[in-house]
């Protein structure tokens, strides 16, 4: 419950500076440094409305903010659904800085935990490993595995939260690379570094490491907590990763969570493959028996179809025969990455066609407020396919959580919806639909 509350507070909080930051960044890239720009008076953005109140303006800004996060590329691309990612966390002295509240370290660890949960939620058949760097040495907290609880336990361990010494970028990357070269080629190889220090203490030439990473097709992305570092920039550029330096706490989270949706597959090399997977049956044994994953007596579990060993949780790799074990819903969890919902379009007052949100039945304002033009935003957002109009909350909910357009699936256009999918994936025949459980 409290989680939901906290999130709500986030949403309600409107940072005007933040709302204007995007432009700032663009300007900064076009010319000059941000400190050379004229001092920005963020309060000028706020304009009182006709009744002398700020509430409507603030509400409008809120809507804009909410939507800004949403607008993303919905083009259908091949994505590497099966991922292998190393999360590298800097645990050097530099992480004790308190410029991010409560401190760089605490914030990083909090976000890292959220990241792990969210990562496995969205990439159920992917794997993750965690590496920390301190005292010039890289330390592997967890090996690549598909079980979020192991990672979370490692992150919660107090001993793994102590900082000391200098970080070593090269050691960490070498360690990650050494593990990643072994993973099958159909999966992606990624490294995500959260880096607080401005220096690195390396045993050799880091450019050799970069070349090696490039050769092995490992993508390295950086989230810098202090300032941009040239070598990191080069590293990301060479390996097709992304590089970002955080502005504030919220921006940190945005940057980190950008790595959660599976990345698009580059067409340069054919890595796709058919992966052998097992679909275990649930064991309904009434008597407890030993599982292979924890060696404990448990009741129930799943039976590996190849070697008949008992496993507690899915998805996982069978500890005995190495077969990837999943259940059909796990595969289904990833489908929304393949069939994203189109971005909704803002509807001006001249284009309104309904008085209530199609999905949640909220009543819309029926006429524009005094002073607003016919072309101004009416607070409605419409789906480009089914042309039903939605409120901003549903718009966000549909794109961030639900991944279904309620209109397309509910408004008597199911035939066209099938065609939508066929258009995207020309080879899908109407009778063969991706993944279905046991039916009829």
């Amino acid at each position: 419950m409290s989680g939901r509350k906290a999130k709500k507070d986030d949403d309600e909080y409107v940072d005007i500076d933040d709302a204007t930051d995007t432009h700032e960044n663009e300007d900064a890239q076009q010319g000059g440094y941000s400190w050379e720009e004229e001092y920005k008076r963020s309060w000028d953005v706020l304009q009182e409305d006709a009744e002398g109140r700020l509430s409507s303006v603030v509400a409008h800004l809120q809507q804009q903010m909410k939507r800004r996060r949403l607008l993303r590329d919905t083009a259908t691309v091949q994505r590497g659904i099966i991922r292998h990612l190393f999360l590298v966390i800097d645990l050097s002295e530099a992480m004790n800085e308190k410029d991010l509240r409560p401190s760089r370290l605490e914030l990083t660890l909090t976000y890292a935990r959220q990241f792990v949960t969210e990562y496995f939620d969205q990439n159920p058949i992917s794997q993750l490993g965690i590496i920390v760097i301190r005292d010039g040495v890289a330390e592997r907290l967890t090996d690549l595995s598909g079980n979020p609880t192991d990672h979370l336990r490692a992150l919660k361990n107090k001993r793994n939260q102590e900082t000391s010494g200098e970080p070593s970028l090269q050691n960490a990357l070498d360690m990650a690379c050494a593990s990643l070269v072994n993973v099958p080629s159909h999966g992606s190889r990624e490294v995500l570094v959260v880096y607080g220090s401005l220096t690195t203490c390396d045993p050799g030439d880091i450019y050799d490491t970069i070349a090696q990473l490039k050769k092995e097709h490992v993508r390295v992305s950086f989230v810098g907590l202090a300032a941009e570092i040239q070598v990191c920039r080069t590293l990301c550029k060479e390996t097709n990763g992304s590089y970002g330096v955080v502005l504030n706490e919220a921006h940190f989270k945005d940057l980190l969570f950008e790595a959660i949706p599976p990345p698009a597959v580059t067409q340069t090399r054919n890595t796709s493959n058919l992966v052998m997977m097992g679909f275990p049956t649930k064991s309904n044994d009434l008597h407890p028996s030993f599982c292979v994953c924890h060696s404990k007596l448990t009741v129930g579990g799943y039976i590996c179809p190849r070697c008949s060993s008992k496993i507690c949780e899915l998805p996982t790799d069978c500890d005995v025969c190495g077969l990837t074990l999943v259940s059909s819903p796990h595969l289904a969890r990833s489908y929304h990455h393949l069939f994203p919902v189109d971005n909704f379009i803002e509807v001006p007052w001249s284009g309104i066609n309904s008085l209530h949100c199609f999905a949640c039945q909220t009543a819309f304002d029926s006429s524009p407020p005094p002073g607003a033009g016919l072309e101004s935003n009416s607070g409605r957002y419409s789906c480009p396919r089914c042309h039903n109009q939605f409120c901003v909350d549903c718009d966000i909910f549909v794109h961030e959580v639900l991944h279904n357009c309620p209109g397309c699936w509910a408004a008597g256009s199911n035939i066209s919806t099938v065609q939508i999918h066929s258009k995207k994936q020309p080879a899908i025949q109407n009778d063969v639909m991706p993944m279905q459980g046991v039916t009829s």
Binding site: T271, S272, R306, G322, C357, N414
Partner: protein, 328 residues
């Protein structure tokens, strides 16, 4: 197991998705133990009243999952209310009915009537006659999302009940699963009451994943008793009550090529389609695969076990699942 987020003071929001597929109800009305839509609605309304009787501030919402489209039965929008009032649909109040119950019941009956009148338009018959469960689930979740956003104190505890009569429609699988996962994320249980027709695997999975109740109604005539007994308990009471549940939910997959149920299969790394044998090109997304006679076993350094060596130890669970690999 204990749902600690609930307490006795909660307001319970019951969003019911009524499958109003007329074709399926037609069959149900002529089945061995018949139950017509009218009879069912009568019993469902009593069930709604029982839900509202449990607590003064309990709420219901109802969505019709019709063939081809979905519609909110209750609450109705303002515009619709005005229209109805203008047309004098509302029968005058009477002293024998609790006004809260009566308002809801009247609204739902009126919505259903207009829904059924609209159904006869010919273009609706073009589709394959399945009801839009996925759309209804999506709308239900959007509605719940809004209600929960408005509820600052977090006192509203929503749940979804699906009264299903029509079979699974395979092409809705993705959207149903998307909705199910969203529900799981928001910790909303999806209860499924299968009033008529065979088992529905999608909805079974839905209730299993979200921790809801799944029930096959054996005697549709006694629908109300099933509803009151198994689907009425609020989320708080469920902490203490044993409710019927599907012990064995089939999570195995069917391959795309032959629709056979398989234990071990090959999954396309790009689109996650499942095949029972290795082929050089994915028939779903046309991806060409790098040729490898024996896919390596995730670098574990073990000798690769041949694909034909499939002991299928658990095949006894279902006769159709035996030795799926034999065709390779």
């Amino acid at each position: 197991m204990l749902d600690t987020a609930t307490s006795e003071d909660d307001t319970n929001l019951l969003v019911t998705i009524v499958d109003t597929n007329p074709l399926a109800w037609q069959q149900s009305a002529t089945a061995k133990i018949p139950l017509s839509l009218d009879d069912a609605i009568r019993q469902i309304l009593i069930f709604f009243n029982a839900h509202m009787a449990l607590k003064h501030d309990n709420k219901v919402a109802a969505i019709a999952s019709h063939i081809g489209h979905c519609k909110f039965l209750y609450p109705v929008t303002d515009a619709e209310t005005h229209r109805r009032q203008a047309n004098q649909y509302k029968i005058s109040k009477d002293a024998n009915a609790y006004p809260n119950f009566k308002d809801v019941n009247d609204d739902i009956i009126e919505s259903l009537r207009s829904l059924m009148l609209d159904t006869d338009t010919p273009q609706k018959n073009l589709n394959d006659g399945t009801s839009m469960i996925s759309g209804a689930l999506s709308m239900a979740l959007c509605y719940i999302n809004r209600i929960m956003n408005q509820d600052d104190l977090g006192r509203i505890k929503p749940r979804i009940l699906v009264l299903s009569v029509s079979p699974d429609s395979p092409y809705q699988y993705i959207s149903i699963m998307n909705a199910v996962f969203s529900a799981q994320k928001m910790s909303i249980p999806i209860d499924v009451c299968k009033v008529y027709g065979g088992e529905v695997a999608f909805l079974q999975q839905a209730s299993h994943i979200t921790g809801g109740v799944y029930l096959d109604v054996e005697n549709p005539q006694a629908l109300l008793q099933y509803l009151l007994f198994s689907f009425l308990p609020e989320r708080y009471a469920r902490n203490y009550l044993c409710l019927p549940n599907k012990e064995q939910v089939d999570f195995r997959a069917a391959c795309f090529c032959h629709k056979r149920i398989i234990d071990i299969g090959y999954v396309c790394s790009v689109c996650l389609s499942i095949f029972c044998s290795w082929s050089p090109v994915c028939s779903t997304c046309r991806t060409k695969f790098a040729f490898r006679a024996l896919p390596p076993l995730a670098g574990k350094g073990r000798p690769a076990i041949s694909r034909t060596a499939s002991p299928a130890p658990s095949a006894a669970a279902s006769p159709g699942s035996s030795s799926p690999m034999s065709t390779t």
